[in-house]
């Protein structure tokens, strides 16, 4: 049986729906030792800011039940160094490169996008309006539909590439954000980024994470992520990239049924850097078993 795993998100064509999530794949080089990136739909690079960021002091991560908290603080090399040092490696990869951008001001988002726009290696932008671990901007943007609308509008004005906005789950109605993004010309939304969480050392009474709070990821958040994807899917006609706690191909099928056109793998990469490739194999078998010739037919196929 010939199975078509390809996916389109607006103008963006992917060979399959499996992407690796921003911040969980670096700039592609380290993970390439463990997996064949060319088999994947694509990778989303670590959030870039205009200037390099050192990130937060340690401790940055802590394990929680079926999850982990992180407060990396968007440690990254900055757009200039990215272009000089990282693009040459990324260019050689036979997979779709999506570039994730984080910023503290709307101007910074626009500026970053402008600088990166000429790079052919970059096939789409994902705008992170939802990082819970930076003080200025970050979460505050993500919680304000007007701000997200303005960011979408102004970044849209400076790029012809597909524009994806990555949403925060720490809001009452995530679909309101998706609506605004569609209005302002965004091509797709990614849902979800991490949930705000914390954890204390019971002897020192200090937060285990130096930044006090961190972002919760991993299987623990999967039911929440699925509900957010479903909410967007039922209320707004915009392609969705589903993210949150995916560990295996069954989870991917769930996300697609709930409304996702593609998905991203985050935390699982830390445990099994070859998870993406294994998941693609699993998706193929699932299609065979259920006589599905086009995987994209799963998207939003929920029976409600």
């Amino acid at each position: 049986m010939k199975i078509d795993l390809s996916i389109t998100i607006g103008k963006l064509k992917l060979k399959n729906p499996v992407l690796l999530a921003s911040g969980t794949v670096g700039y592609g080089n380290e993970i390439a030792q463990y997996t064949d990136l060319s088999k994947l739909g694509g990778i989303v690079t670590k959030s870039l800011s205009l200037k390099p960021r050192k990130g937060n002091p340690p401790q940055r991560i802590v394990e929680t039940p079926s999850g982990m908290l992180n407060a990396i603080g968007l440690a990254n090399v900055g757009v200039e160094a990215f272009i000089k040092e990282k693009i040459p490696f990324l260019k050689e990869l036979d997979t779709t490169i999506i570039c994730n951008i984080a910023a503290s001001t709307i101007e910074e988002y626009v500026e970053c996008t402008k600088i990166l726009e000429p790079e052919d290696t970059i096939k789409a932008f994902e705008i992170n309006v939802s990082c819970p671990n930076v003080k200025e901007g970050g979460l505050e943007f993500g919680n304000d539909t007007k701000a997200v609308g303005r960011i979408t509008e102004q970044v849209r004005a400076v790029t012809k590439k597909p524009l994806i906005i990555k949403l925060s789950p720490n809001v009452s109605r995530i679909s309101d954000f998706a609506k605004v993004i569609k209005q302002e010309g965004g091509d797709a939304v990614s849902a979800i980024n991490t949930l705000v969480g914390t954890s204390f050392n019971i002897m020192t009474r200090r937060p285990k994470i130096k930044n006090i709070t961190g972002g919760l990821s991993g299987p623990a958040i999967k039911p929440v992520a699925l509900a957010k994807v479903l909410e967007i899917s039922r209320n707004v006609d915009i392609p969705i990239i589903g993210i949150g706690g995916i560990m295996n191909w069954m989870d991917v099928v769930e996300f697609m049924i709930a409304g996702a056109s593609a998905i991203q793998l985050g935390t699982v990469n830390f445990i099994n850097p070859n998870a993406g490739v294994e998941i693609i194999e699993g998706l193929k078998s699932y299609c065979e078993k259920t006589s599905l010739t086009k995987l994209s037919g799963l998207t939003a196929s929920y029976q409600i």
Binding site: Q33, G55, R60, I72, P219, T267, P273
Partner: protein, 251 residues
């Protein structure tokens, strides 16, 4: 670097209830160097979520050894493995000790489970004088297995010198002072910090193996920073370490 489905061979209980596990893991056995570590999946389920980092304790042929004590849920699950179980190991990871170059005396300073990487290192030190300063809070926390010329210290004086291994190391200068020596250390941060101060002050040739919380273990999560002494941000313990020159880092 491999994701190896290793075969769990056996678990041995050393003195003081330290566990030593032996796994058949040819790819890792062939490539591991002293001071490197592996990130081990301790269960077959998704719980606990993250792998657990352990120093390569020894290599014999195609077998690799890891040494640990029960710390929390992850290490407890490891003790439940039985011969024939599959153990999913990622490694070898990080930069190990530099045991090449010009020195004739190796001074090992190990605190608690910090002894773990040294049986393997000791193998690579044939022909050198070796002194192992092994410390623990008390007698039953001193791990001497696989080490040579051991000098014991305990915080409570229940065995050997009463005090820290760094203090004992300072007292026993006659053992290394006039030799070309190099210090190799692993243990809790306060111990490493004390040793770091000493070695920088006296300009000793020294290498510290550092522990910290990790998620991936190979450089993609940025979860394991250690501050650079030049003020220019952070190094990653998993990728740039776990072994560092004391001059490069700040605890």
């Amino acid at each position: 670097m491999f994701i190896e489905k290793a075969r769990f061979e056996s678990i041995e209980h050393l003195e003081n209830n330290i566990h030593l596990i032996k796994v058949y893991s040819p790819s890792i056995a062939h490539s591991a160097k002293p001071g490197q570590f592996c990130n081990i999946k301790v269960s077959e389920t998704d719980f606990p979520l993250l792998r657990r980092p352990f120093s390569v304790c020894n290599v014999e042929g195609e077998h690799v050894y890891f040494m640990f004590d029960i710390h929390g849920e992850g290490t407890k699950l490891l003790t439940k493995k039985i011969s024939g179980d599959e153990l999913d190991i990622l490694g070898p990871l990080g930069k190990g000790f530099d045991y090449e170059g010009d020195f004739d005396t190796a001074v090992i300073v190990a605190g608690g489970l910090g002894s773990a990487p040294f049986p393997f290192l000791t193998k690579y030190l044939t022909g050198k004088n070796i002194f192992s300063f092994v410390g623990g809070r008390s007698k039953n926390l001193v791990i001497k297995w696989g080490l040579q010329n051991v000098l014991v210290s305990t915080d409570d004086g229940s065995e050997g010198f009463k005090g820290t291994n760094v203090e004992l190391f300072q007292l026993k200068t006659e053992l290394y002072q006039n030799k070309k020596f190099r210090v190799f250390a692993c243990g809790p941060n306060p111990m490493l910090k004390a040793l770091q101060g000493l070695c920088i002050a006296k300009n000793y040739d020294c290498q510290l193996s550092v522990e910290c919380a990790m998620a991936c273990g190979f450089g993609i999560c940025q979860g394991c920073p250690i501050e650079k002494s030049d003020g220019d941000g952070y190094l990653l313990v998993c990728k740039d370490g776990p072994v560092f020159n004391p001059k490069d880092i700040i605890f």
